[in-house]
Subunit: 222 residues, 2 copies
């Protein structure tokens, strides 16, 4: 089982709840931060003292409250953590359920567990900790459903996302081919862009381009 765990959560009641769950699992060396900056400092300090954390449980969104912070969200914290201590296991505990955001955390940062906040999630947390401890991934049912139900987002490539971002940033569809060429991105012919956009509309059930942009913004893809 994990020996030293860091909880990053700004809501006291939830932070306390997590602590008691960890204690139930006989984990005693627990630290907690209510913001990402402080969390990163703790992780760095523990590394220097040669007593590193072996598990990080973090929320994604934090209320700014009365102070400005450097790292404003869990995603930024995770990005930094992956740089300073890549082997640290990470479990995300968040209400974030926009498939685009969830997928990014799984794909880009390869996080070890994801639990959607909801009712009766303490069992989920225990299972997640135990599963991750065994070098396996754990995602709560809500998240699995989300990933399964909308397999659409899995069909979206990096260059698809680029097309959408470019369009949302104001460039015309017919200008995309030259942008692709300039950046040595393959499959950038005018007709291919059209084809991909048609596919994306089908994938997301959009009738028009403006609606497609609206949808991919809603789900956090761009």
């Amino acid at each position: 089982m994990f020996k030293k765990v860091l909880i990053v959560e700004d809501q006291q009641s939830i932070s306390k709840g997590l602590k008691s769950i960890l204690k139930d699992l006989n984990i005693d060396n627990i630290e907690a931060s209510d913001n990402c900056d402080n969390a990163l400092l703790k992780i760095r300090a523990s590394l220097i003292k040669k007593k590193p954390f072996d598990l990080l449980i973090t929320d994604l969104s934090f209320r700014e409250g009365y102070h400005l912070s450097n790292l404003s969200c869990g995603e930024e914290l995770i990005e930094q953590v992956k740089k300073v201590q890549p082997n640290l296991k990470i479990i995300v505990f968040s209400i974030e359920n926009r498939i685009g955001k969830v997928k990014k955390l799984l794909d880009k940062y390869d996080i070890d567990g994801y639990i959607a906040k909801g009712r009766r999630e303490s069992e989920d947390i225990k299972k997640a900790i135990q599963t991750v401890c065994q070098e396996r991934k754990y995602y709560s049912n809500t998240i699995l459903t989300l990933l399964k139900g909308s397999n659409n987002i899995s069909q979206v490539s990096t260059s698809d996302t680029l097309i959408l971002k470019l369009l949302a940033s104001g460039i015309k569809q017919k200008q995309i081919p030259e942008h692709f060429k300039d950046n040595n991105i393959p499959s950038g012919s005018k007709r291919s862009i059209e084809y991909r956009l048609q596919e994306l509309k089908t994938i997301f059930g959009a009738e028009t381009l403006p609606q497609l942009i609206s949808i991919v913004k809603d789900i956090g893809l761009i």
Copy 2:
């Protein structure tokens, strides 16, 4: 000065801070809720007991935490409050700074004060309470700047917003005229829709329709 105040805020530390500010202003009859459902119940109960609140200070966004709620945000609370006790003064205290959302609260619900959460906002709160007590409106500097700096949103009419919503929902531009006609909305000719969209692009600095949709979603207009 106000006699009976309700604070609706889910972050304990902030709720406590607000209480102490109110006490500084010699307001002793203070109640607090950490969620909107409970707040509405309290307002209703106070009305029945003929001891109504005379000021409501509320946040806008609430973390769902461990339970599902009926009213999920401050906006919904305000909407209900306006129905049950229209004369209740309302001050919003939130980090929400998307002009579209702020503007809606001012225009649609005619709230009495808006304070953007930030650093050193306790002075703002005192001023807001005193100003609102004198039957005047109070908006913090951040909000005034926001309203001033982006006067663009003031130029957007209800039917403009409707056009944008329709486009974001997937209907084609050329179908909008009949939709306007069916709903007896004036200025709905094809050419007028085109004209309004051109204006909207200018107002928001968008080059293309997809970008326009992206922008108005970002600022919370739709």
